[in-house]
């Protein structure tokens, strides 16, 4: 079953006492705990794992880690799983992606025959014209070309993704030797440390090292484990660094959530990602059996897999030399070791499903099934770039190095230089100390510089100078491309020839070339490709690498699933104290902003008629309610409302409208004076928060000498509107301490009294529905009692609840506009019909100059009552009013309903001023394109424009 599994290795991760069963393309396989998907398959002799994106070339293991471009597989309903690092689990159903009909026989290979048509910029050149083919044809063709796995829209078994917020003093990206050493010294210095490692275990390259490396690793691991100040996150990727060290981490190792996005605010960030091996560019470099030195080292040492039988090794570094030793110990025959440091080279590899022959630079040809290259390193400086650094190319070491970092970002390990394990550890330790010192200073400042800070524990930490001894830079030959063309980007199937062509077509800046060819834009995100792409461009332009620059690395460091980004949404839903009752009594809910509230209980038309004929109750708790106290409240009201407020008497309420400083109608509501220095303001349901913030802004910023205190009481008071001709009869049975008679409690008045035994209820008489109505503001703890008492006591009067839909019908019959529905972001006061309300002679009011200017204009739209001539037609809201048979827009319907009271359709509409006169016939274009005529009414109100019903 496992023909390529070799005897036990000292650092192996597999537990040979276990058996893990899984399937690969429907066939049964087994592996061990600790295997990756790829290592288990490789041990079983599988050589082809995928087909390449464009040409559908066979692909095998290349880097055997997270970055392997050839190891994206489908696992169950999860696409694009990285089989090079994903650990094997019992029962996994693994299959190849991007193949049809099968991995073994893939018709997409036909693309190889037409390869010259798929070269750089192919999509841009081919699918541009004619444009009309885009939807019908091109889109469908391109969709077939799209690589990647399949998502299962309706059958996710992934459970809930999650989010977490964290505030470590020091965050370390990379759990290799330098990162672990930095974590230990930072924790010793008193910092809280978060140590994040992309692979499922700590150790970095020590894991596949020799025995002495493994001993160092064991010591480091137990020290980290024993340190209470270090939180270790493995199988987690630091995916981005943003302003003020705001750091995103994608955690794949959470016990419950499939992935968790951690948003961390770190005092200092230590970047220790190590180095990533760079592929070598030559003809056939993507043939299965061509591997990076690290890949064969990981396969042999971590998973005890023999990666081939006869190997040719091209080495320019100690990593390649070590790979030779590992291969020998794994029983692989070393056909030849080619030392790139003395000029040896590989020109070409032959073979389709597997390497067969290797053509060398000196003209010889060797038979082999494994070609191992160790030709250089890429410094994954992504996080440094995100911190503003522009790494600099060093031709001696043949890689990029950090240049200038902000104080709160430090780098250590291979990304900064070369050295022995001891040197790496020493640098890591010094970096950890420095990071802790900087972070602890920040923490001290945070705790001591705010107005309410507690007294600091101890003095401010000293500034520690950065006197770290830099790591050495070992000379390395610049090995980028052989004398032949090969692949630069394995994920996107882009060869050095494609890049040269792009350069010759004028796309010869690295950023342009990237976008034109899509090089570095695949799942590897440039970790394998960026430097080779730059080198090909340098070659094409015949300039130095340093003059080409690189593309800017942006987040994410590694692709991140949409589930993790969406995560858990922290948005509370607000419920009134009566919402449970509503739901128990058949309410159909409506989400209105943050609130969930009843849209209807049964038939909204019947609910509306019951209000007109008997008495109805509606829960209007979401109405914004602000308790205003202080001697200067009238000044504040004068300022924020367009009308006058100085003379409002105790016991009276008044309607007010608000505009912004730009003169656009922003909110409206009723405010009542409860006592000399005590008012209750109501706002629209959606505007409650904004009005409160606006009042605070005025009181804090511009009028801080005014004595006003604002308290939001929206949820604290449950608001019940009791509306209908029998509402007084009902309330007389329950209200104590208030004379409800028309003379003693006239329209637009407020009283405070007892309702159903509940004291301190605020009652005001207003008329949004157009009927005699009382709005009760009841302490929410007693609201259910009051609501149930009203319904029980009023059962013989026909008392019944009504929902938001019935209220909308009623208010439209009455012609009351709703801010935001019948007005929009351009509606000024004259449009809303506020001419009678606005007082332009005030000393100051919000938006006063714009108000004045608005009333000078004659071209503003006008809100009018509108009735379709065919009373059975209800035009949908937002239907446009047009000029005759043309499509010239002259207005729109802002609200429309069938009126149960009038038995006809009724609307409010914004129209061009020349159509605003009563009796004007207008044309409304319906959704289906047909046109109807409608007549402008004299009033907004379709029912009782004089207000007789509500003043009784």
């Amino acid at each position: 079953m496992s023909p390529r599994r070799i005897p036990s290795r000292p650092g192996e991760l597999i537990d040979r006492s276990t058996t893990v069963s899984f399937t690969w393309n429907g066939r049964a396989f087994t592996g061990h705990q600790g295997d990756t998907i790829a290592s288990a398959l490789a041990a079983a002799g599988v050589e082809i794992f995928s087909r390449s994106m464009k040409y559908h070339r066979r692909r095998g293991i290349f880097s055997a880690n997270h970055w392997d471009p050839n190891l994206s597989v489908q696992v169950g309903d999860e696409p694009n799983v990285r089989a090079g690092s994903r650990r094997l689990l019992e029962g996994m159903q693994v299959s190849a992606q991007n193949v049809w009909p099968s991995l073994r026989f893939d018709l997409g290979t036909a693309n190889q025959l037409v390869g010259r048509f798929l070269s750089a910029g192919f999509y841009y050149k081919t699918f541009m014209r004619p444009q009309f083919l885009w939807h019908s044809l091109y889109q469908r063709i391109l969709r077939k070309f799209a690589p990647g796995g399949r998502i299962h829209w309706n059958t996710s078994t992934h459970g809930a993704y999650d989010k977490r917020y964290a505030h470590p003093d020091v965050l370390i990206a990379g759990g290799g030797p330098a990162g672990m050493a930095a974590a230990l010294s930072a924790a010793e210095a008193g910092a809280t440390v978060m140590l994040v490692e992309q692979e499922p275990e700590l150790g970095g390259h020590l894991r596949w090292g020799a025995n002495d490396d493994l001993e160092v690793l064991a010591d480091l691991r137990s020290a980290v484990e024993a340190s209470p100040g270090i939180e270790v996150l493995v199988d987690s990727t630091v995916s981005g660094r943003y302003d003020h060290n705001w750091i995103a981490i994608n955690q794949r190792s959470h016990p419950l959530a499939p992935e968790r996005l951690i948003k961390a605010r770190a005092g200092s960030l230590v970047v220790a990602p190590g180095l990533i091996e760079r592929p070598y560019v030559f003809a056939g470099n993507d043939t299965p059996g061509v591997m990076l030195a690290g890949a064969v080292r990981r396969l042999t040492n971590l998973w005890a897999v023999r990666p081939g039988d006869r190997a040719v090794v091209l080495t320019a570094s100690s990593e390649g030399d070590s790979a030779v030793a590992d291969l020998e110990s794994a029983g692989v025959e070393i056909v030849e070791v080619l030392d790139a440091r003395s000029g040896a080279d590989i020109v070409k590899v032959d073979g389709r499903g597997r390497v067969r022959k290797v053509h060398l630079g000196d003209g010889r040809t060797l038979a082999a099934d494994l070609v191992v290259t160790a030709t250089g390193w890429t410094a994954p400086t992504s996080l440094l770039n995100m911190a503003g650094d522009r790494p600099v190319y060093d031709p001696v070491a043949a890689r990029y190095f950090p240049h200038a970092l902000p104080d709160n970002v430090l780098a250590t390990g291979g990304i900064t230089g070369d050295g022995s394990i001891a040197e790496l550890l020493a640098h890591g330790r010094e970096t950890g100390e420095l990071a802790a010192a900087r972070a602890l200073r920040i923490r001290h400042d945070v705790l001591t510089t705010t107005a309410r800070s507690t007294s600091p524990k101890g003095p401010r930490p000293e500034t520690v100078p950065d006197d770290r001894i830099p790591l050495r830079r070992v000379p390395h030959p610049e090995c980028y491309r052989s004398s032949t063309h090969g692949l630069v980007d394995f994920s996107e199937d882009i060869s050095s020839k494609d890049l040269m062509q792009a350069a010759s077509e004028g796309f010869d800046s690295i950023e342009l070339m990237k976008r034109y060819t899509t090089v570095t834009m695949g799942p590897s995100q440039g970790k394998l490709e960026t430097v080779n792409a730059a080198s090909v461009l340098a070659e094409a332009r015949q300039v130095d690498m340093a003059d080409v620059g690189t593309t800017v690395w942006r987040p994410p460091f590694s692709p991140i699933s949409l589930g993790a980004l969406a995560g858990r949404i922290f948005e509370p839903v607000r419920r009134s104290a009566l919402q449970d009752w509503h739901e128990a009594n058949g309410a159909v809910n409506l989400l209105a902003g943050q609130w969930v509230r009843p849209d209807r209980y049964g038939d909204p038309m019947a609910e509306a008629l019951n209000v007109r004929n008997n008495v109805g109750l509606i829960d209007v708790t979401p109405l914004g309610k602000l308790d205003l106290r202080g001697p200067d409240v009238p000044k504040l009201l004068e300022l924020v409302y367009v009308n006058r407020w100085q003379k409002l008497k105790v016991g009276r309420v008044r309607y007010g409208a608000m505009v912004g400083e730009d003169g656009v109608v922003s909110d409206d509501g009723v405010t009542g004076r409860l006592a000399k220095d005590h008012y209750l303001m109501t706002t629209t349901s959606s505007g409650a928060g904004a009005v409160w913030e606006m009042l605070e802004d005025w009181l804090q910023t511009y009028r801080s000498d005014w004595e006003v205190h604002v308290t939001p009481v929206t949820g604290g008071l449950t608001s019940i509107n009791v509306a209908g001709p029998r509402s007084r009869d009902l309330l007389e049975r329950l209200v104590g301490g208030v004379d409800l008679s028309a003379d003693a409690f006239p329209y637009f008045s407020v009283r405070t009294g007892t309702v159903a035994g509940v004291a301190d209820c605020i009652i005001w008489r207003i008329g949004f529905t157009g009927e005699l109505s009382y709005e009760l503001h009841v302490p929410s703890g007693h609201a259910l009692h009051v609501w149930e008492s009203l319904l029980a006591t009023g059962s013989d009067l026909g008392a019944a609840p009504f929902g938001v839909e019935a209220q909308r019908i009623l208010r439209l019959e009455k012609g009351h506009y709703i801010v935001g529905q019948d007005t929009d972001g351009l509606s000024k006061a004259p449009t809303a019909g506020l001419a009678g309300l606005v007082k332009l002679d005030k000393e100051d009011t919000v938006g006063l100059p714009e108000l004045r200017a608005a009333f000078d204009r004659t071209d503003l739209p006008v809100l009018v009552g509108l009735q379709p001539d065919d009373p059975t037609v209800v035009p949908e809201e937002a239907c446009q009013i047009v000029a005759g048979d043309s499509n010239e827009i002259l207005g729109r319907v802002t609200s429309s309903r069938m009126s149960p009271t009038l038995g006809r359709s009724i609307c409010l509409a914004q129209v061009d001023p020349k159509l605003a006169a009563a009796g004007t016939s207008v044309t409304v274009k319906l959704v289906d394109g047909s046109r109807i005529t409608a007549t402008v009414q004299e009033h907004h109100a379709h029912l009782d424009p004089e207000g007789e019903r509500q003043r009784v």
């Binding site: 003020h244 705001w246 605010r265 510089t449 705010t450 400083e661 605070e696 000393e843 100051d844 100059p849």
Partner: protein, 82 residues
Amino acid sequence: MILVPCPNCGPRNSSDLRNTGEVVPRPDAATASLSEWRSYLYLRDNPAGWVTETWYCRSGCRTYFTIERNTATNEVRGLERT
């Protein structure tokens, strides 16, 4: 996401607060010409550099305060309660 130092709550994520923009003096509404008023409404210096701006601690202490922020680097200084 930048950190904004609230005078009461300390440094907080900017999503906990609301940026109400550059501080612009409000003209006298009774006497301002329409063009003066519209400059106040719409015209901002928007420099790539230091700007004095107002923030509202909407998820915390509900204080409006001004800071100086370098829009190019997001460095913050000059915390002052209004």
